[in-house]
């Protein structure tokens, strides 16, 4: 299966975790793309940490409002019901428990849900931005990532080696190979990408995976 198709399945699967009425923050990169996989007129409120709730469709440069961006710098639009607010209010929403779900990228996720996605010492030190608070305080934290890094190594690891974004914060991992839940009993394999076997996923995962009895759903 070509990577682009696997990624489309990942995104479509992730979109199914967005329930009607949720307030959701989609991180830069892969997570932002989930929105394209929601049904039209789906009742969800997209938040961005630079001070907007209820983000409408992304606009091209010619239609863009120079003052209306999301935290990733994309030019976005409003909908009836959108609101703007300052940065303190924006993170009050996150830390105060009003963000139902965030989907974030990852460099590494550990077996107990530690997340590292902001710093590679010596190589990449851009600063944490809003990621720490999203990871630590959203009611549900889902990581969207390729299962393997560019060198073919598992991004799902027994212990993170990179500086943490937040400890024990990830609830679910959705990759191009599997859906994995992070629980008090460790990582549990929930779903497989169509065409893969349990053995293939276990082989690609350096952290221990629990596999429930019975047939796993495919996506």
């Amino acid at each position: 299966m070509p990577l682009s198709d696997a990624r489309a399945r990942l995104l479509a699967r992730a979109a199914r975790d967005i329930a009607p009425g949720m307030v959701v923050n989609l991180g830069i990169g892969l997570p932002t793309r989930v929105i394209d996989h929601l049904p039209p007129a789906f009742p969800v409120c997209l938040h961005s940490e630079n001070g907007i709730a209820g983000i409408g469709p992304t606009l091209g440069y010619d239609a863009a409002d120079r003052n209306l961006i999301d935290a990733g710098g994309a030019y976005v639009s409003t909908l009836p019901g959108t609101s703007y607010f300052d940065s303190a209010t924006s993170f009050a929403l996150v830390r105060g428990g009003r963000l139902d779900l965030t989907m974030l990228g990852a460099f590494e996720v550990s077996a107990r849900g530690d997340l590292a996605n902001w710093k590679i010492p010596g190589l990449f030190t851009p600063g944490i931005g809003g990621g720490m608070e999203l990871a630590q305080k959203a009611r549900q934290v889902t990581v969207l990532t390729t299962h393997l890094d560019r060198k073919g190594k598992s991004k799902i690891v027994p212990e993170c080696t990179l500086p943490l974004t937040a400890q024990a914060c990830v609830n679910r991992i959705i990759t191009d190979m599997a859906v994995i839940d992070v629980t008090g009993d460790g990582l549990i394999l929930r779903e497989l990408r169509a065409g893969l076997t349990v053995g293939e996923v276990i082989a690609a995962t350096s952290a221990p995976l629990t596999v429930p009895d019975g047939t796993l759903p495919e996506f």
Binding site: P20, G21, V23, L38, A41, F42, P43, V44, C45, L46, H47, I52, A53, G54, G56, T78, L79, P80, G81, T82, S83, Y84, F85, A88, T89, F91, A92, L93, V94, R95, G96, G97, R98, L99, K137
Partner: protein, 230 residues
């Protein structure tokens, strides 16, 4: 994309509140006090409540009805000088009252809403309001730790709302309302006017919809909302 409709009936919105709940009430004097929500709370009769509100209103208004009905166990407030019943109940030991400096009450609520554990301030140092509170030294200076406040419910009064819960407050009716909107598990707003989504320009919204759980449109305003002729 569209947004969920949070409109609810007065009865249903208040029926979610159980005995023993902690409830924040917006308002500073008359402006911004959710008199209709309070009246329904009196009608339904939940008891053992902890109320967090700037003041205790005046005789025959708002909080006074809850006090008269014996529904309030504890009151966290800044000033109750206009409510003789509140002062009387406090003096008789039948109402537990915790006084805060007004801006510190605002900050404690805001801190709860912002998911903070506490703020550190020099307000109250050397007075009885700092007595018994945890202290911490910040940069060599003594500070009082004022813990964050959250509630089970916040009852608010808006001038204009939309069904998603975007709220706008009139004039000085804003006061504690937008702070409390961030600081409760469930936020119920009564509103004088309810318009469709888009009624409020995004830059005019005082309380963003994601903070609000229930919007109760008011059919009419009772006498309590009117100008008080003293």
């Amino acid at each position: 994309m569209r947004f969920p409709d949070k409109t609810a009936t007065l009865h249903d919105a208040i029926a979610e509140i159980g005995d023993g709940a902690t409830i924040m009430l917006g308002g500073f004097g008359v402006p911004g006090t959710p008199f209709t929500l309070i009246a329904e709370l009196v009608r339904q009769g939940q008891t053992g409540l902890t109320i967090i509100k700037n003041d205790a209103n005046e005789t025959g208004m708002g909080v006074d009805h809850l006090l008269a009905a014996g529904q309030v166990r504890r009151l966290i407030t800044t000033h109750i000088g206009l409510n003789p019943r509140a002062i009387g109940l406090m003096n008789e030991g039948r109402l537990e009252v915790e006084f805060c400096a007004q801006g510190i009450l605002a900050e404690r609520i805001r801190a709860g809403g912002a998911g903070l554990a506490a703020i550190v301030t020099d307000i109250g140092l050397g007075t009885e309001l700092a007595a018994g509170k945890q202290h911490v030294i910040i940069g060599g200076r003594d500070g009082v730790v004022e813990t964050a406040l959250r509630a089970d419910f916040a009852l608010l009064h808006a001038e204009v709302a939309d069904p998603f819960g975007n709220l706008c407050y009139a004039a000085t009716a804003r006061n504690f309302n937008p702070l409390m909107a961030t600081a409760a598990g469930r936020v119920i707003a009564e509103t004088e006017a309810l318009g469709p989504l888009g009624t409020l320009e995004p830059g005019r919204v005082h309380t963003p919809g994601p903070f609000v759980d229930r919007v109760v449109p008011l059919d009419a305003l009772t006498e309590e909302y009117a100008v008080v002729r003293r």
